[in-house]
């Protein structure tokens, strides 16, 4: 059905109901006796109680009249009668737009200013750092943990020196703005159990003794070096973590490493470019890279 039909429907029903309402009130108070001949055969209860013996109190009348007047004024000023948009031209969407404009004009220039501040000067401003922490708590803590130290053997620690996708403020900003999708495929089709164990042992050894002779070394160079490099230092371009720093998002036991090697891993960091504005992202970068 077209909008016009239903707009008319709403308007007509509303007006007819209001007229009916007015008619009932008026009639009940000023409409006179009920019907002809009522006096002869009135319904009487308890000897003398009859219809109309106690008229409704007058303040009811004034209350109903007041509500009717209020309704009429409301329907003239605000949308309500079908598609008539009211004298004030008020709408929910319009109200929101006004608030957004007001928000931008009140806070916009200060927010832009902060977005252009250097990371170092933001770090020195206690107030800004507290604001940054609130943004972090709201948007990031559910994954990276309240202290940003990572959790659930799945979400990386953001307060250490190990940055899978790069440690520069620009790289961290890109991680936040565009998100990250780290994929390591599993190798269970090309490795037998023994080889997988040796590889896991060698991977762990990379963070300790860096052995030059190891049963897992050859396989590592064959399968893993393309992304993690021969030395195991990783590639921030591919998001392949440094395996020599002893930091493991997915757990540093032989079993977890073996699971990574056999079944692969996939880490998704959602993009926040549409959710956060420039200032909030700037604040987060400063907060994450602060000294203490």
């Amino acid at each position: 059905m077209p909008i016009d039909f239903w707009a008319g429907w709403v308007a007509v029903l509303t007006i007819v109901s209001l007229i009916g309402f007015a008619w009932v009130i008026y009639g009940a108070y000023f409409g006179g006796k009920s019907v002809e001949g009522d006096e002869e055969s009135p319904t009487v209860w308890d000897e003398n109680l009859r219809e109309g013996a106690h008229p409704p109190p007058m303040w009811w009348f004034w209350a109903m009249l007041a509500s009717l007047v209020f309704t009429l004024i409301y329907l003239i000023l605000y949308p309500g009668l079908g598609s008539f948009s009211g004298a004030f031209k008020w709408s929910q969407g319009g109200e929101l737009e006004e608030r957004l404009v007001e928000h931008a004009s009140t806070f916009g220039s200060r927010r832009d200013e902060i977005a252009r501040m250097t990371i170092a000067s933001i770090r020195q401003d206690e107030l800004l750092m507290r604001a940054a922490q609130r943004v972090y708590d709201r948007q990031c803590a559910a994954c990276h943990g309240l202290d940003a130290q990572g959790q659930a053997d799945m979400f990386p620690n953001l307060r250490d020196d190990a940055w899978q996708w790069g440690s520069s403020p620009e790289a961290i900003e890109t991680s936040i703005r565009s998100g990250r999708h780290g994929i390591m495929v599993g190798w269970r089709s090309s490795l037998n159990r023994a080889e997988a164990s040796q590889l896991a042992q060698y991977t762990l050894a990379l963070a300790k003794s860096k052995p030059s002779v190891h049963p897992g070394k050859a396989k590592f160079e064959e399968l893993c070096a393309a992304c993690h490099t021969t030395a195991g230092t990783g590639s921030t371009a591919l998001g392949a973590p440094d395996l020599t720093n002893g930091v493991y998002t997915y757990g540093g036991g032989v079993l977890e490493i073996k699971e990574t090697i056999l079944y692969g891993r996939e880490g998704i960091m959602p993009a926040f470019g549409d959710v956060l504005d420039d200032m909030q992202i700037r604040l987060l970068v400063a907060w994450l890279t602060r000294d203490v």
Binding site: V10, L13, A142, G145, M154, P270
Partner: protein
């Protein structure tokens, strides 16, 4: 006829009285409810709104079964604070394929209408099985059994899709015949995570219509 005369007639004739009561009490519904059932603007899916896939639909049924909507609403209201917090406000057309819609009005937890892009599937899994493993101060109950139950134990996903098709949801024959394959070997957890992932897919598509 005057008002008291009408009153007397109604009072003395119970059939008329019943009709009168029904008539008067239906006016609100005729004005508020009836038009919204038929008005194009409210029932036409927005450009980005699509019917739920088989697994997502099962997830939605589980969402209803577990009572998620008693604590989570699915409507971002057009208010500054909500739009800033959750994203574009919800429009009626986004719910065109929700039967029943799950707008809700109780917010013990946050609104979920824009949750899809916010978290990863991996997060949703650990969070549903044990919310406190990722949000230490969460009061949300844990739902560990979702991971143990098969998504479609009674094998009736095709029936569910066919019924929705009767109501006008555009499922193709292919979609219905492929459905069992899509949900085979899936758990309830897979289903509900798939459902959560598409919430908010049509975000903002109704914004122009709202003006």
């Amino acid at each position: 006829m005057n008002v008291l005369g009408l009153h007397k007639k109604l009072e003395e004739n119970s059939g008329l009285l019943i009709f009168g009561i029904l008539f008067v009490s239906s006016i609100g519904g005729l004005v508020q409810v009836l038009p919204s059932i038929f008005e194009d603007e409210l029932i036409t899916p927005t450009a980005e709104t699509r019917p739920y896939g088989a697994l997502e639909l099962i997830g939605r049924d589980i969402y209803i079964r577990e009572g998620c909507s008693t604590c989570h609403s699915q409507q971002v209201r057009p208010l500054l604070a909500e739009v800033k917090r959750y994203g574009p406000f919800s429009s009626a057309g986004e719910s065109a394929y929700d039967r029943p819609f799950l707008w809700g009005s109780k917010r013990t937890g946050p609104d979920l209408h824009r949750i899809g892009a916010k978290f990863s599937d991996a997060w949703q899994r650990v969070h549903l099985i044990d919310p406190r493993s990722v949000v230490p101060n969460s009061i949300m109950p844990a739902y560990p059994w979702l991971a143990a139950n098969a998504a479609d134990p009674r094998n009736n996903i095709q029936t569910r899709l066919r019924r929705l098709r009767l109501l006008g949801h555009p499922y193709s024959d292919d979609a219905i015949s492929n459905a069992p394959d899509l949900v085979a070997n899936k758990t309830e957890l897979d289903a509900i995570v798939a459902y959560l992932a598409v919430l908010g897919e049509a975000a903002g598509s109704g914004e122009e219509m709202a003006h």
